[in-house]
């Protein structure tokens, strides 16, 4: 489903070239539950941003379901983000003045979808927040905010869910709850879930762990 061929991402910082990604080859099949691991600066977040079309590679090819993403226009990439991908970030990235329900409706607004509030409510039910739909981010705990973010990514029924340190801001117990939610999605809906983490305990929830160092993949293990 996802195929990276020698993908690089170089930054220019003060005359120095930083190779955040250095000719990475990777393929991920539909329905996989993958953890990308590594220390800060290893390039794992950059990899995830490129997978989610939030960032563009400076070299190599990215094929999504056989289509070259690099050749898409900005609008086409926006449509892809809106229909194929769901994103969950470490810092939740919720909009402060909106209620949970409105946050989850947002992707549907940009899709021009109908029946927004029913679908958004259903997504919130899935993550167990059916009773807190009118709350704003400041009225929710960290775990609840992250579940709102998961609901927002789920509401468009994406094929791939990308989560960047989804438990990074949460305590162990709520972190594990969030991981349970993600695992259930993989098992029951066949969604491809890719998470970025530096915690082995969190990676243990997944089926495949990809280790990165200095912009390269150094290990790719399948957990039985």
């Amino acid at each position: 489903m996802i195929e990276l061929q020698a993908v690089s991402r170089h930054y220019r910082a003060g005359g120095e070239v930083i190779r955040a990604l250095d000719a990475v080859d990777l393929s991920i099949a539909a329905g996989e539950f993958v953890a990308i691991m590594g220390q800060s600066g290893s390039g794992k977040s950059t990899l995830m941003n490129i997978l989610g079309c939030l960032d563009h590679p400076t070299g190599g090819r990215y094929l999504l379901e056989g289509h070259d993403v690099g050749k898409l226009s900005d609008d086409a990439r926006a449509r892809l983000r809106s229909r194929a991908f769901g994103f969950v970030f470490q810092s939740y990235n919720l909009i402060p003045r909106m209620s949970a329900l409105e946050q989850v409706e947002l992707p549907l607004v940009y899709q021009g979808a109908r029946d927004r509030s029913r679908r958004a409510a259903a997504a919130l039910q899935t993550v167990g927040l059916g009773a807190r739909m009118r709350h704003r981010p400041t009225q929710l705990s960290g775990g609840q905010q992250q579940r709102v973010a998961i609901a927002r990514s789920l509401v468009v029924e994406p094929r791939v869910l990308l989560a960047d340190e989804p438990t990074g801001a949460l305590d162990t117990r709520t972190g594990e709850e969030v991981m349970e939610v993600l695992r259930t999605l993989v098992r029951t809906r066949g969604i491809t879930v890719i998470i970025v983490t530096h915690e082995p305990e969190i990676a243990a929830f997944t089926d495949r762990a990809i280790r990165m160092r200095d912009g390269r993949i150094v290990a790719d293990e399948r957990v039985a």
Binding site: L54, D75, R81, N93
Partner: protein
Amino acid sequence: MNVFDALRIALRAIAANRLRSVLTTLGMIIGVGSVIVLIAVGQGTQKGVQDQIRGLGTNLLFVRPGAAQDAQSGARGAAGSAATLTQTDAEAIAASGIPEVRGVAPQVTFNAQAIANGNNIGVTLIGTTPAYPEVRSAALAEGAFVTDLDVERRALTAVLGAEIARALFPDGGAVEQTVRLAVGGGRTGFNFRVVGVMAPRSGSGGGEQDNYVFVPLPTMQSRIGFQRSAAGVVLVNQINVQTADGADQQRAALAISDLLLVRHAAVAPDFTVQSQDDLIGAAGEVSRTLSILLGSIAGISLVVGGIGVMNIMLVSVTERIREIGIRRAVGARRRDIVVQFVTEALTLTMGGGLLGIAAGVGIAIGINGHEISGQLMTTVVQPWSVAAAFAVSVVIGMLSGSYPAYRASRLDPITALRNE
């Protein structure tokens, strides 16, 4: 995303920053409102001056003495300072047979005090002939005007302007009463019998003429002021000439001018002949300059208001780059982002523009006909100024929303998301 989504998002953002939105809108309200008010004042002043000149009468030519010129130094005095026009000049114009001339009324003007009933008020005293009411299209409310008999006898009869009659005799019945008219600080004064009261002059130009008191010209000459030329002929300040309806005023002015040149045996005119149109033209120059000045001041305040909106939108977009990143991550196209912020800016500026129009038109109509620090305000709201002010507010909205949003929408979503 459709229009309603965009509008809903914009209204929420505006409501979320209430104080900032109010201040921004206030800038637009003041800008748009002042454009409308100041242009209305400028136009009103122009109209007021025109009305005042038209209110003098219809089809009028004014003959006034020329500027006095000192033979030695060549220094010229103000127009009217020379003493060259005489009562016989007026009689000559009347008897000249110039076809356009329908009536002639010379006048001598003095400032005087009118005293009656224990009231003492300043008036403009006008010595003239019985032709005056017809020449100047002035109507009488009561009694009669100065008659030929009054002129012949130098009678002590007076006709009061409407305002003077009201001030001296608040209870009415001015006719047959006695009024003391005094000049020179009261050293010279005579009791006059009131024979008539003028009807109020309508229009904004009426005020001054309602403060006139008329007496027979020879009475004025013999009792109040002694103005005679070296040859002993009675001098006048002004000769009012009425031309026939539809007559060529320029030709009449030339004919009068020629006649007087011959009579005065002068090479260059020592008098001026001006039509009402000349006066309106001259006054129009002044008031047009005033209009342009006021309009420019208002325009500056509108521009300042507009820059305020731009500034706020720039800050608002910069502050919300992260929000833009989130929206982009969940599928917003660049266009959606631009539409969102343009809608927000347009809502602010158009809202401010509409409120500004309401305030401006309201104030302009409110002050019309009222006195502000002793000055009677006349305002004429110009529809084009309303349209222009609103159009400017829309353009400001478009510009101030689109530029920063366009810049923000060019960022990669992840760059926007990382923005703190």
